[in-house]
Symmetry: C2
Subunit: 294 residues, 2 copies
DNA sequence: AATTACATATTGTGATTATAAAATGCAATC
DNA sequence: GATTGCATTTTATAATCACAATATGTAATT
């Protein structure tokens, strides 16, 4: 009966924000600034901050707002006080994904069927279905019902995806409009170094996946062409679905992050063509290694 | 109060189907076949056929079904009996597009606002908004409301689109998986020849636009990679919005179709690399000519 | 054997209402 | 002058229901 709230999402956003900005204990968290950052009003931000106060991560002072209670670096452990928050936002999305990949959902399904199966309101179901449609693995039929596409679930489609990424990312780097973003490079360097120097053993699967995606999307963003960036973001959202089901071969990660750092080296040395060629090989290499496990 | 029906859409589909298959007077139109083609049940197909019977395009015989009454080539004139059918399917979509491009809609809008403005049911509004979201020029905000993006409406974004198309189409043609589809080439040849030999003066703007898009999408389809094809289809859907507002320079069309035919020539002669290079120039050339008019 | 015609079952839309969530204006506080 | 705290307005979701559109099973026809 209650409307789904965005504030849990905002809570997670704040934690991520605090971490990526490496904030320290005592730092102020202005409400309006957070609201603008996450494109919502102050209301849900306040709800989120109250929750974080209960979690012991921030401290609220009357008429002065909220302040960080611990350094961003230590937030991770503090977060574990609220464990069932789990991996992700929309449980329905993952239930549908699971059931589809497990073959429990036929290719064609009707909305009423899904409403009965998952016992959710139609509005919620449609919201999730539309999200999935935007990701491209389901589509509304002209009459009644929806139809799942085999995107990324078939071995062939999976490999096509790698070819697409390799081509797009390489070409993005070769565009005349490509400009290296020094600040972003610096951050990426820090993340990839941390990953290569031990993070590959301790980070969660989601964190590893995110670090990898962030790196590649950062590179494409340098092309200054939103169509290239959008297409990479779209396929990455899709990839998440499949990659989550694959057991990570963590022993491969140090090499991966080393290659990422190598790309940055080449770019900073002005050897863009080489960097682009190496990037292509880097992506296609990952395809060859992972594909058999699908 | 009445639910929106797909049968008008099916009516148009049948007309298009009959034309592209160059059917002749007296040919049978099996109901189930049409239903499968358009991915609906027999019910809306029957509704559409009844409408076409009233329009005098098909003839129904008891227990035998429906038969074409005129050759496909002459259908166009017959169709004019039902004139207000107009250009397109979803009026709401075009009203929103118009108002947005005319600056009548702010960047951020709420659903209720739009419901009041256009006086439609929420369900219908959301359907259209989600369609637009899939095309990429609006997105749902985390809290309330929707936000328009400047995709393709800004001059810069418009040019980025051309770069994206040129790169994707060229690279698609260079993929190892690329296989020329002889049958499709033949059809494309017929269309482009007709366009170049006079069609450029008489065809409607929508027909010209469709012929052009079909050609390029056909080429990308030969790459056998659905990600390349999807990304081109997506950007083309977007392009339609803008190109409709530009006055076509019909004098340029003969050259355009000549270039299309040249690409087919090169491919059939096995000179793929040349064809890909020419394709790239072909697309970027169109950008240079059209862009100033935006 | 394929196709139609018709009867029946199922689906999704539009309309309405109650309510939780989000947006916003403004005085109080730092 | 920026930010908070709170009161008020506005928004979107969930839950229902009636009904037209769509889907489908089956006997009749070719």
């Amino acid at each position: 009966m209650a409307r789904q709230s965005v504030s849990p999402q905002i809570t997670a956003n704040i934690l991520e924000f605090v971490k990526t900005n490496q904030m320290r204990a005592g730092d102020h968290l202005p409400c309006q600034m957070l609201a603008d950052t996450f494109r919502v009003s102050r209301a849900p931000v306040n709800t989120a901050l109250k929750k974080l106060e209960q979690m012991g991560i921030v401290r609220g002072e009357p008429n002065r707002g909220y302040f960080l209670k611990v350094d961003a670096a230590n937030v991770d452990t503090a977060k574990q006080e609220a464990p069932p928050q789990g991996e992700d936002e929309d449980p329905l999305y993952f239930r549908i994904a699971e059931d589809r990949l497990a073959g429990k959902l036929q290719e064609r399904v009707s909305e009423n069927e899904l409403i009965r199966l998952y016992d959710v309101a139609r509005t919620r179901l449609l919201k999730t279905l539309h999200r999935i449609a935007e990701e491209g693995w389901v589509e509304r039929l002209p009459g009644n019902g929806w139809s799942f596409r085999e995107t990324l679930t078939s071995r062939r489609s999976y490999e096509e995806g790698y070819v697409f990424r390799a081509v797009i990312e390489q070409q993005a780097m070769l565009l005349p409009s490509f400009v290296a973003d020094e600040a972003a490079f610096e951050k990426a360097r820090a993340v990839q170094t941390a990953l290569g120097e031990g993070g590959y053993e301790t980070w969660s699967r989601a964190e590893i996946f995110k670090a990898n995606n962030d790196f590649h999307e950062m590179l494409v963003a340098c092309s200054q062409n939103e169509f290239f960036l959008d297409s990479i973001k779209r396929i990455n959202r899709l990839r998440r679905l499949i990659e989550y089901r694959i057991t990570i071969d963590r022993s491969r990660l140090p090499r991966q992050s080393a290659e990422h750092l190598h790309i940055l080296d080449l770019l900073e040395a002005g050897r863009r063509t080489e960097a682009a060629a190496f990037l292509y090989t880097h992506i296609m290499g990952a395809s060859r290694i992972k594909a058999p496990q699908v």
